[in-house]
Symmetry: C2
Subunit: 146 residues, 2 copies
Protein backbone atom coordinates (compact mmCIF):
# COMPACT_ATOMS: atom_id res chain seq x y z
CA UNK A 1 0.00 0.00 0.00
CA UNK A 2 1.02 3.64 -0.37
CA UNK A 3 3.84 4.77 1.92
CA UNK A 4 4.44 8.33 0.87
CA UNK A 5 4.17 10.87 -1.92
CA UNK A 6 6.94 10.73 -4.53
CA UNK A 7 6.14 13.41 -7.04
CA UNK A 8 3.61 15.32 -9.05
CA UNK A 9 4.30 15.35 -12.74
CA UNK A 10 3.89 18.53 -14.73
CA UNK A 11 3.72 18.20 -18.51
CA UNK A 12 5.46 21.24 -19.95
CA UNK A 13 5.79 22.53 -23.50
CA UNK A 14 9.30 23.84 -22.82
CA UNK A 15 11.39 22.19 -20.11
CA UNK A 16 14.05 24.92 -19.82
CA UNK A 17 11.46 27.71 -19.62
CA UNK A 18 9.65 25.82 -16.83
CA UNK A 19 12.90 25.14 -14.95
CA UNK A 20 13.73 28.86 -15.02
CA UNK A 21 10.26 29.70 -13.66
CA UNK A 22 10.36 27.21 -10.77
CA UNK A 23 13.95 28.18 -9.92
CA UNK A 24 12.80 31.81 -9.69
CA UNK A 25 10.26 30.68 -7.07
CA UNK A 26 13.07 28.98 -5.13
CA UNK A 27 12.94 25.35 -6.29
CA UNK A 28 16.05 23.63 -7.56
CA UNK A 29 16.63 21.25 -10.48
CA UNK A 30 18.18 18.31 -8.62
CA UNK A 31 18.33 15.96 -11.64
CA UNK A 32 18.24 16.36 -15.40
CA UNK A 33 17.83 13.30 -17.55
CA UNK A 34 18.05 14.93 -21.00
CA UNK A 35 15.98 13.16 -23.65
CA UNK A 36 15.11 9.57 -22.83
CA UNK A 37 13.09 6.79 -24.41
CA UNK A 38 10.97 5.47 -21.59
CA UNK A 39 9.35 2.37 -23.00
CA UNK A 40 8.21 1.30 -19.54
CA UNK A 41 6.42 4.61 -18.96
CA UNK A 42 4.88 4.37 -22.43
CA UNK A 43 3.59 0.86 -21.67
CA UNK A 44 2.35 1.89 -18.21
CA UNK A 45 0.22 4.62 -19.85
CA UNK A 46 -0.64 2.48 -22.89
CA UNK A 47 1.12 4.85 -25.31
CA UNK A 48 2.87 3.65 -28.49
CA UNK A 49 6.04 5.58 -27.56
CA UNK A 50 7.50 7.54 -24.67
CA UNK A 51 10.23 9.93 -25.76
CA UNK A 52 10.59 12.70 -23.23
CA UNK A 53 12.93 15.22 -21.60
CA UNK A 54 12.80 15.14 -17.80
CA UNK A 55 14.03 17.17 -14.83
CA UNK A 56 13.31 16.77 -11.12
CA UNK A 57 12.66 19.91 -9.06
CA UNK A 58 12.93 19.90 -5.26
CA UNK A 59 12.23 22.46 -2.55
CA UNK A 60 15.20 23.85 -0.65
CA UNK A 61 13.93 23.04 2.85
CA UNK A 62 11.87 19.97 2.01
CA UNK A 63 11.16 17.64 4.91
CA UNK A 64 10.18 14.79 2.60
CA UNK A 65 11.65 13.56 -0.66
CA UNK A 66 8.81 15.03 -2.69
CA UNK A 67 9.72 16.56 -6.05
CA UNK A 68 8.18 17.83 -9.26
CA UNK A 69 8.70 15.46 -12.16
CA UNK A 70 8.86 18.02 -14.95
CA UNK A 71 8.31 16.40 -18.33
CA UNK A 72 8.47 17.73 -21.84
CA UNK A 73 6.96 15.02 -24.03
CA UNK A 74 8.50 14.74 -27.47
CA UNK A 75 6.72 11.62 -28.72
CA UNK A 76 3.78 11.77 -28.33
CA UNK A 77 3.93 15.57 -28.57
CA UNK A 78 2.46 17.74 -25.81
CA UNK A 79 -1.16 18.63 -26.40
CA UNK A 80 -4.01 20.57 -24.81
CA UNK A 81 -3.96 23.29 -22.18
CA UNK A 82 -3.89 23.36 -18.35
CA UNK A 83 -7.19 23.84 -16.55
CA UNK A 84 -8.36 27.44 -16.83
CA UNK A 85 -10.34 27.42 -13.56
CA UNK A 86 -9.73 25.84 -10.13
CA UNK A 87 -13.12 24.09 -10.28
CA UNK A 88 -12.10 22.05 -13.33
CA UNK A 89 -12.17 18.41 -12.27
CA UNK A 90 -8.68 16.90 -12.00
CA UNK A 91 -5.26 17.49 -10.43
CA UNK A 92 -5.78 21.18 -10.46
CA UNK A 93 -3.11 23.12 -8.58
CA UNK A 94 0.02 22.77 -6.50
CA UNK A 95 0.69 24.66 -3.28
CA UNK A 96 3.98 25.57 -1.64
CA UNK A 97 4.84 26.75 1.85
CA UNK A 98 6.44 30.20 2.08
CA UNK A 99 7.67 31.64 5.39
CA UNK A 100 7.37 35.37 4.65
CA UNK A 101 4.80 35.75 1.91
CA UNK A 102 4.98 39.55 1.52
CA UNK A 103 8.79 39.54 1.20
CA UNK A 104 8.69 36.54 -1.18
CA UNK A 105 6.03 38.12 -3.38
CA UNK A 106 8.02 41.37 -3.56
CA UNK A 107 11.16 39.42 -4.48
CA UNK A 108 9.33 37.34 -7.10
CA UNK A 109 7.62 40.41 -8.61
CA UNK A 110 11.05 42.05 -8.94
CA UNK A 111 12.09 38.99 -10.94
CA UNK A 112 9.09 39.27 -13.27
CA UNK A 113 6.61 36.81 -11.69
CA UNK A 114 2.98 37.94 -12.11
CA UNK A 115 0.20 37.05 -9.66
CA UNK A 116 -3.55 36.73 -10.14
CA UNK A 117 -4.18 39.35 -7.45
CA UNK A 118 -2.23 42.42 -6.38
CA UNK A 119 -1.92 41.22 -2.77
CA UNK A 120 -2.20 37.93 -0.83
CA UNK A 121 -5.66 36.90 0.40
CA UNK A 122 -6.60 35.64 3.89
CA UNK A 123 -8.39 32.32 4.06
CA UNK A 124 -8.16 31.15 7.64
CA UNK A 125 -6.71 32.26 10.99
CA UNK A 126 -3.19 33.42 10.13
CA UNK A 127 -3.28 31.75 6.72
CA UNK A 128 -2.66 33.80 3.58
CA UNK A 129 -2.12 32.85 -0.03
CA UNK A 130 -1.48 34.22 -3.47
CA UNK A 131 -1.71 32.48 -6.83
CA UNK A 132 0.51 32.61 -9.89
CA UNK A 133 0.63 30.46 -13.02
CA UNK A 134 3.65 28.69 -14.45
CA UNK A 135 4.73 29.37 -18.06
CA UNK A 136 2.22 26.79 -19.36
CA UNK A 137 -0.61 28.12 -17.19
CA UNK A 138 -0.57 25.67 -14.24
CA UNK A 139 -1.99 27.20 -11.03
CA UNK A 140 0.74 27.59 -8.40
CA UNK A 141 -0.38 28.68 -4.96
CA UNK A 142 1.98 30.14 -2.34
CA UNK A 143 0.74 29.79 1.23
CA UNK A 144 1.94 31.27 4.51
CA UNK A 145 0.79 29.97 7.88
CA UNK A 146 -0.56 26.53 6.96
Amino acid sequence: MIEDFIHVSITSRDLERSIRFYETLGLKAIKRFGVVDEDGIARAFRLPKGRLAVAYLAASEAQGRMFIDLVQWLDPAPEGEPYAVPNNVGLNRIAFRVRDLDASVAEMKAKGIAFLTEAPQDFGPGIRCIVTTDPDGVFVQLIEGL
Copy 2:
Protein backbone atom coordinates in the same frame (compact mmCIF):
# COMPACT_ATOMS: atom_id res chain seq x y z
CA MET B 1 10.78 32.07 -1.35
CA ILE B 2 9.40 28.55 -1.44
CA GLU B 3 10.37 26.36 1.54
CA ASP B 4 8.54 23.13 0.87
CA PHE B 5 5.58 21.51 -0.82
CA ILE B 6 2.28 21.79 1.06
CA HIS B 7 -0.28 20.04 -1.10
CA VAL B 8 -1.64 19.22 -4.50
CA SER B 9 -5.28 20.00 -4.90
CA ILE B 10 -7.58 17.57 -6.65
CA THR B 11 -10.94 18.89 -7.79
CA SER B 12 -13.42 16.04 -7.37
CA ARG B 13 -17.05 15.68 -8.41
CA ASP B 14 -17.84 13.60 -5.30
CA LEU B 15 -15.73 14.09 -2.18
CA GLU B 16 -16.86 10.94 -0.34
CA ARG B 17 -16.31 8.71 -3.39
CA SER B 18 -12.78 10.12 -3.80
CA ILE B 19 -12.00 9.68 -0.09
CA ARG B 20 -13.05 6.02 -0.30
CA PHE B 21 -10.78 5.51 -3.34
CA TYR B 22 -7.68 7.11 -1.78
CA GLU B 23 -8.28 5.31 1.52
CA THR B 24 -8.37 2.03 -0.41
CA LEU B 25 -4.86 2.91 -1.72
CA GLY B 26 -3.71 3.48 1.87
CA LEU B 27 -4.07 7.25 2.34
CA LYS B 28 -5.95 8.64 5.31
CA ALA B 29 -8.41 11.54 5.62
CA ILE B 30 -6.65 13.57 8.34
CA LYS B 31 -9.06 16.54 8.22
CA ARG B 32 -12.58 17.15 6.98
CA PHE B 33 -13.87 20.67 6.77
CA GLY B 34 -17.43 19.99 5.58
CA VAL B 35 -18.87 22.72 3.38
CA VAL B 36 -17.14 26.07 3.73
CA ASP B 37 -17.43 29.50 2.13
CA GLU B 38 -13.87 30.42 1.30
CA ASP B 39 -14.06 34.02 0.20
CA GLY B 40 -10.28 34.34 0.39
CA ILE B 41 -9.75 31.39 -1.96
CA ALA B 42 -12.40 32.80 -4.30
CA ARG B 43 -10.64 36.17 -4.36
CA ALA B 44 -7.20 34.53 -4.81
CA PHE B 45 -8.50 32.77 -7.94
CA ARG B 46 -10.66 35.74 -9.04
CA LEU B 47 -13.90 33.78 -8.69
CA PRO B 48 -17.21 35.41 -7.66
CA LYS B 49 -17.77 32.75 -4.98
CA GLY B 50 -15.93 29.87 -3.31
CA ARG B 51 -18.31 27.38 -1.72
CA LEU B 52 -16.59 24.03 -1.37
CA ALA B 53 -16.33 20.80 0.61
CA VAL B 54 -12.77 19.93 1.58
CA ALA B 55 -10.81 17.01 3.04
CA TYR B 56 -7.06 16.57 3.52
CA LEU B 57 -5.52 13.17 2.69
CA ALA B 58 -2.10 12.17 4.02
CA ALA B 59 0.16 9.17 3.48
CA SER B 60 0.66 6.82 6.40
CA GLU B 61 4.47 6.92 6.45
CA ALA B 62 4.95 10.43 5.10
CA GLN B 63 8.29 12.03 5.86
CA GLY B 64 7.03 15.49 5.00
CA ARG B 65 3.75 17.23 5.77
CA MET B 66 2.56 16.89 2.18
CA PHE B 67 -1.13 16.13 1.68
CA ILE B 68 -3.82 16.03 -0.97
CA ASP B 69 -6.23 18.94 -0.70
CA LEU B 70 -9.34 17.19 -1.99
CA VAL B 71 -11.99 19.70 -3.05
CA GLN B 72 -15.54 19.31 -4.23
CA TRP B 73 -16.53 22.72 -5.54
CA LEU B 74 -20.19 23.59 -5.02
CA ASP B 75 -20.18 27.19 -6.24
CA PRO B 76 -18.85 27.49 -8.85
CA ALA B 77 -19.84 23.93 -9.77
CA PRO B 78 -17.20 21.41 -10.90
CA GLU B 79 -16.71 21.40 -14.66
CA GLY B 80 -14.64 19.67 -17.33
CA GLU B 81 -12.73 16.42 -17.23
CA PRO B 82 -9.23 15.37 -16.11
CA TYR B 83 -6.54 15.06 -18.78
CA ALA B 84 -7.07 11.93 -20.85
CA VAL B 85 -3.39 11.48 -21.76
CA PRO B 86 -0.12 11.97 -19.83
CA ASN B 87 1.20 14.31 -22.55
CA ASN B 88 -1.60 16.83 -21.93
CA VAL B 89 0.08 20.03 -20.76
CA GLY B 90 -0.57 20.73 -17.09
CA LEU B 91 -0.36 19.16 -13.64
CA ASN B 92 -0.89 15.75 -15.08
CA ARG B 93 -0.41 12.95 -12.57
CA ILE B 94 0.53 12.15 -8.99
CA ALA B 95 2.95 9.41 -7.95
CA PHE B 96 3.18 7.51 -4.69
CA ARG B 97 5.91 5.33 -3.21
CA VAL B 98 4.97 1.72 -2.54
CA ARG B 99 7.33 -0.74 -0.85
CA ASP B 100 6.07 -4.03 -2.27
CA LEU B 101 4.32 -3.21 -5.53
CA ASP B 102 3.18 -6.74 -6.44
CA ALA B 103 1.64 -7.34 -3.03
CA SER B 104 0.02 -3.88 -3.01
CA VAL B 105 -1.42 -4.32 -6.49
CA ALA B 106 -2.85 -7.72 -5.53
CA GLU B 107 -4.38 -6.22 -2.38
CA MET B 108 -5.81 -3.25 -4.28
CA LYS B 109 -7.21 -5.44 -7.07
CA ALA B 110 -8.95 -7.56 -4.43
CA LYS B 111 -10.60 -4.32 -3.25
CA GLY B 112 -11.80 -3.44 -6.75
CA ILE B 113 -9.06 -1.06 -7.96
CA ALA B 114 -8.45 -1.35 -11.74
CA PHE B 115 -5.08 -0.63 -13.38
CA LEU B 116 -4.22 0.50 -16.91
CA THR B 117 -2.00 -2.57 -17.39
CA GLU B 118 -2.25 -6.11 -16.09
CA ALA B 119 1.21 -5.96 -14.46
CA PRO B 120 3.72 -3.29 -13.33
CA GLN B 121 6.21 -1.98 -15.92
CA ASP B 122 9.99 -1.50 -15.48
CA PHE B 123 11.34 1.93 -16.25
CA GLY B 124 14.80 2.07 -14.68
CA PRO B 125 17.19 -0.10 -12.69
CA GLY B 126 15.02 -1.63 -9.99
CA ILE B 127 12.20 0.85 -10.62
CA ARG B 128 8.72 -0.39 -11.45
CA CYS B 129 5.38 1.34 -11.74
CA ILE B 130 1.73 0.79 -12.47
CA VAL B 131 -1.00 3.34 -13.18
CA THR B 132 -4.58 3.59 -12.01
CA THR B 133 -7.10 6.42 -12.25
CA ASP B 134 -9.11 7.91 -9.41
CA PRO B 135 -12.95 7.98 -9.60
CA ASP B 136 -12.83 11.23 -11.62
CA GLY B 137 -10.13 9.94 -13.97
CA VAL B 138 -6.96 11.49 -12.47
CA PHE B 139 -3.79 9.49 -13.26
CA VAL B 140 -2.36 7.93 -10.10
CA GLN B 141 1.01 6.22 -10.44
CA LEU B 142 2.35 3.73 -7.90
CA ILE B 143 6.14 3.38 -7.94
CA GLU B 144 8.50 0.90 -6.29
CA GLY B 145 12.26 1.49 -6.06
CA LEU B 146 12.49 5.24 -6.68
